[in-house]
């Protein structure tokens, strides 16, 4: 009788090898999937963060033209898209007052990490635009921040002393790290 020399465990070994290979491939696929998912969720978090920063600057840009401290009033009626030049100057001086920081601290709750500039653009007396910084959080301790967002809002500025109205802009800049 002819003896069969083939080992009987060969087929089982192949199946075990297949199982190991399948498990290995599945694990590689899982790792790739996790890396991909991690990247997608990280970019989503970054998007949400930048959108929330944008929204906070938008909120400030929306609020500044409506501040009663700056708006024009004629016969106790407030004027649309109008700021009073002398109120702007007074507020700017109050914010820059280094001996009394109470105005800056009060408005810091509303304006947070931002810079608000009022620009007088037209008509110009010397041919150059006139800027006045209303609020700048860099005046405080926030020296490491970087500007990332800028929103211009058109307005008109009334000079009630010289009876002149200027076209201008409120420039709101958001300071954010990174």
């Amino acid at each position: 009788m002819k003896q069969n020399n083939k080992p009987k465990y060969l087929r089982g070994q192949i199946q075990l090898g297949e199982t190991i290979a399948v498990v290995f491939i599945v694990m590689i696929l899982l790792v790739i999937g996790m890396v991909f998912w991690n990247k997608v969720s990280n970019s989503n978090i970054r998007n949400i963060q930048s959108q929330s920063q944008e929204l906070s600057v938008i909120e400030i840009a929306n609020n500044v033209p409506e501040l009663a401290e700056l708006k024009c009033y004629e016969a106790s009626v407030n004027q649309v898209k109008c700021l009073d030049w002398y109120k702007i100057v007074a507020m700017s001086n109050a914010m820059k007052n280094t001996s009394d920081r109470s105005a800056f601290i009060l408005y810091n709750n509303y304006f947070k990490n931002s810079k608000i500039t009022i620009v007088k653009m037209y008509p110009t007396t010397s041919g150059e635009v006139e800027n006045i910084t209303l609020y700048d959080s860099k005046i405080g301790n926030n020296t490491n921040s970087t500007t990332t967002l800028l929103i211009p809002v058109p307005i008109h500025i009334k000079d009630y002393v010289n009876h002149q109205t200027f076209y201008g802009m409120i420039i709101v800049e958001g300071y954010y790290v990174g």
């Binding site: 109008c82 653009m121 809002v153 109205t165 200027f166």
Partner: protein, 173 residues
């Protein structure tokens, strides 16, 4: 017991392989569709939308009260009314229509052109030399372009009938 022939075993193995390949191809195709869908999705940009909205709406409302350079006692609105009605006001040597056109173009320049924002500014119901008083198309923003935010200011010509409209359309880049 009847055993499966070598041929039938090989055939069923081939079918399994084809099925696996088919599933893998399906997964890859699905993945590419997902990636292309994600890349074509326009991301929300609240800052740009808000800025364009504010620029369009607030610009037309803000310029009306502004004093015109060269005749500071009159506002843009006064000169527009005069240009549409009776041409009585003179700013130096200039007619009210020319003066108001010049002042609005200067403000458009400072606001939109300096930021390279595509826009179309035009007036309705007011004519100078039998043409619209103002019609500025910047960076090929025409009525057929993809329109974005818009703003309109209405200037009633009372006691004369009718109103003048100042329109601005911002075009998408």
């Amino acid at each position: 017991m009847k055993r499966k022939s070598k041929y039938s075993l090989r055939k069923s193995g081939q079918i399994e392989t084809f099925g696996l390949a088919f599933i893998v191809i399906l997964i890859i195709v699905g993945f590419f569709i997902y990636i292309s869908f994600r890349s074509h999705q326009t991301q929300d940009n609240p800052q740009k939308d808000f800025t364009n909205d504010k620029l369009a709406n607030d610009f037309v409302l803000s310029i009306l009260d502004v004093s015109v350079e060269g005749c500071e006692v009159f506002s843009v609105e006064d000169l527009i009314k005069d240009c549409a009605r009776d041409h009585r006001i003179k700013c130096g040597e200039e007619d009210s229509c020319i003066a108001v056109n010049r002042s609005i173009v200067t403000m458009l320049n400072q606001t939109f052109m300096s930021r390279r924002i595509k826009f179309r500014f035009y007036s309705s119901n007011i004519y100078f030399d039998s043409k619209d008083l103002i019609n500025v198309n910047y960076l090929n923003c025409t009525p057929t372009s993809r329109q974005g935010q818009r703003g309109v200011a209405t200037i009633p010509l009372y006691p004369a009938p009718g109103s003048v409209y100042l329109n601005i359309n911002i075009c998408y880049q």
